[in-house]
Symmetry: C2
Amino acid sequence: MDNYVRIFDTTLRDGEQSPGATMTSAEKLEVARALAKLGVDVMEAGFPAASPDDLEAVRRIAVEVGNPTDGSRPPIICGLARASKNDIDKAWEAVQHAARPRIHTFLATSEIHMKYKLKMDREQVLDRVIQMVGYARSLCEDVEFSPEDAGRSDPEFLYLVLGEAIKAGATTLNIPDTVGYTTPDEFGALIEGIIKNTPGIENCIVSTHCHNDLGLATANTLAGIRAGARQAEVTINGIGERAGNTSLEEIVMALHTRRPVFNLATGIDTTQIMHVSKLVSNYTGIVVQPNKAIVGANAFAHEAGIHQDGMLKNQLTYEIMRPEMVGVTQSRLVLGKHSGRHAFKTRLSELGYPLNETDLDKAFERFKALADKKKTITDADLDALVADEFYQPSEVFVLDGLQVACGTMGMPTATVRLRGPDGATHIQAAIGTGPVDAAYKAIDAIVQAPSTLLEFAVHAVTEGIDALGEVTVRIEGTNGYHSLNAQKETERSRTFGGHGADTDIIVASAKAYLAALNKLLVVTGKYGSAETPATQGLTAWSRKE
Amino acid sequence: MDNYVRIFDTTLRDGEQSPGATMTSAEKLEVARALAKLGVDVMEAGFPAASPDDLEAVRRIAVEVGNPTDGSRPPIICGLARASKNDIDKAWEAVQHAARPRIHTFLATSEIHMKYKLKMDREQVLDRVIQMVGYARSLCEDVEFSPEDAGRSDPEFLYLVLGEAIKAGATTLNIPDTVGYTTPDEFGALIEGIIKNTPGIENCIVSTHCHNDLGLATANTLAGIRAGARQAEVTINGIGERAGNTSLEEIVMALHTRRPVFNLATGIDTTQIMHVSKLVSNYTGIVVQPNKAIVGANAFAHEAGIHQDGMLKNQLTYEIMRPEMVGVTQSRLVLGKHSGRHAFKTRLSELGYPLNETDLDKAFERFKALADKKKTITDADLDALVADEFYQPSEVFVLDGLQVACGTMGMPTATVRLRGPDGATHIQAAIGTGPVDAAYKAIDAIVQAPSTLLEFAVHAVTEGIDALGEVTVRIEGTNGYHSLNAQKETERSRTFGGHGADTDIIVASAKAYLAALNKLLVVTGKYGSAETPATQGLTAWSRKE
């Protein structure tokens, strides 16, 4: 058995399935690029049978991220498919454009799932697995099979199903603890039993896929790896349904920090972790709590006394990892009012935003405006500024003006001016329970896209009362826009996130709401059936002009 | 060995030590009450030697929570002390008022800590442990000893130190993985080795204390318990320094959900978990991420299709715990405009807020005002309303009026009127980079307490654009207010949190900032040297009148 653990990232599939994590096709592409730079071995780009938009998003990732032009080894691009011909065809349609495509198909093997969800008996399940794995293999050389809810399946039946899947052509066998039910001892024993008892498994990769319902996903995954699994399915920040999936960053840093114990390597460039973590948090609107291992704001927090001492040895009394290792930059102050275009460009490039000259001009203009208001501009400010300026869906309505009066005397009032898809400007005033409510009501009066606000959050990007405020919102279209959940076979109502940044949080709130509404309008096809395909990174995205 | 696992909660000590988690004495008392209701066996109420305020907070908890008047079994109230006479005296001074007091003393035993932090050799460490455990035992029958950084200590030396601590009178031996470095196999083996090799350990309780730096705290704690530990040191929401401590809720629910595997019980009333989780998150300002196990907003999220089906069996295909078990109420709509005082009182009482008649009148008035603005009032709204109305530090300055104008045309302006400690009203106008900045500058001009804003966050309490906005801020006094960290022996700069709720987020922002400033003024003794001692719950607290 080799000592290399393949990192299979499913942020774009299982992660994106969590409530509110819906990303646009352009956002998915950007995350896929960041994952490739991070060095993941496989990325599950989506569930192509869910909808034509989902298929198209996976196809774009296969084309653009699955075929690097810089000579680097391409990541495997994987598409999920239920054990049906239609799903497998759709997955292949999407991933075949990648240099290294993979089809991942699954079928439940636990008694409870077979009886209540599939309504199939063991023999029927076995037959279906043989047929569909075989069919996938007839299309694609790289086929992964998962017995869903393996954690609660009869091990003897599992060995049989997996053995037949191997004969039918599966090259990776993924063992999911679908409901996050097992303990590390149990999960380790499950993997050990599978490796010992499944015929033909010596020529396959065994993989783990754990959920965190009891807080044990990381430990279960590590137990599986120690028992011989050589692929770990993970997500950035551990996002995913319910309590989420195993965190990529925790698995990678545990293997890295305790190298002598595990004696295993991954292909991850750990210094990219923090950047990808922030990117995913921004796009999904799913916050990372300060006490989250590895990527939480406090994970590496130190007190003044310790730093002043400055001795590395002394630091090791309370620190088992260096923050730089995961890309946490220690310097908080980076740029100010007098920083030039060159310094600005260099810093953006270091942060992973290689803007072209036109985009750089626009970004620099925003930077200068911000520097006029705010004494120091940190990396976090730059992240927020770039996200606000460039990482937005195609704009249908653009905020052209906003005026607000509010306070304790009641009657909060907002006046909003928008430029619409017809090029005309529209103006509306409204009163509300507060300034945000008033602004949103005024926007609603113009945009006329009925929706429910599910979440609203503001945080200051950096310290100081002059800080840039970043607003994230999540809305659900009242008329419903549904997408198929691969496992539960239920239609889920899609929700749409938006973010906006400004030193005025009411302005940022209006921008965020408008971004979410624009996403809703574009995705539901009310204005333009899909986003314009990106050709090369940021530049092709629709921008505010 | 019995099959009862003692839950030792250190939210008020190790949890409160995390950046920004500083709580006032009144907040600590309220959390202590909630912990007692939750059913923790031991609560570590603080580190009395840190400052006179810390001692006083522990003393109040010992007096008021350590002596229940309703006939319930009192929780053990524990105070932390370094291995010194002074610290132990202070701890005893604070906890002796409890019906069941405990002194918890510690000394590091790892080579790196002895060499670089303690600058002591093994013999000196052993001598100090014998003397100080003996001294603690001469004051208190219940003495806990922790060999700090046990996870990186030489096991043979550990057995020796622990054996001598037992001889000197220790009754509980707590084994900390101080830096969150071990794997479950290692930590389980450590506990097993200690139980096997330490003379006299059969008459003591062995305890675990794990940190989550690699995401393994829960698994390590469970491994320790399976190896024979019968006390687990945990915090609510897993808060604590860096990536935090083991989560109370994860340990309790893992033991509960997998009862047949562990065959162990705790004394926790699991239906209180969600309420305590929210209380701690509110007071510390440390958010819980949606994908946090057990207490995250998505932990029990389901999709429409599943609910409509309604079959319990079918639910079990993707659900291993019932949300009601941790106190998640399924009904989202609870009260509206036409709800009466009785329904309001009943719901508050169910939520754990047993207000007296005067407080109820005030709360009902606020409720009615809110119901005029907002169609439906949920439990979350009530939590925010009660927190905003009652759970505030003594007020020095009170917000009397606020008027704001802002928008894209620039020049955001705020006018603020405050009533000061002298009873006089003060009014100031200021411009800022945004409406919050402007309001804070106007407040600063009146209050004159130099501080730095470290964090600012707003979230909508519930869905809908008419939602109540809850703002949390964290500030640091520019002139510094320091408190001693027990382990690192460094002074840490204390920070102060504040929260405010209003349908107008600018008003909520002003309230939150003022609450934090008031906390700073009270704690630093600028106005009144300490809060007025509480006599019975909420009623004695200083309120807005």
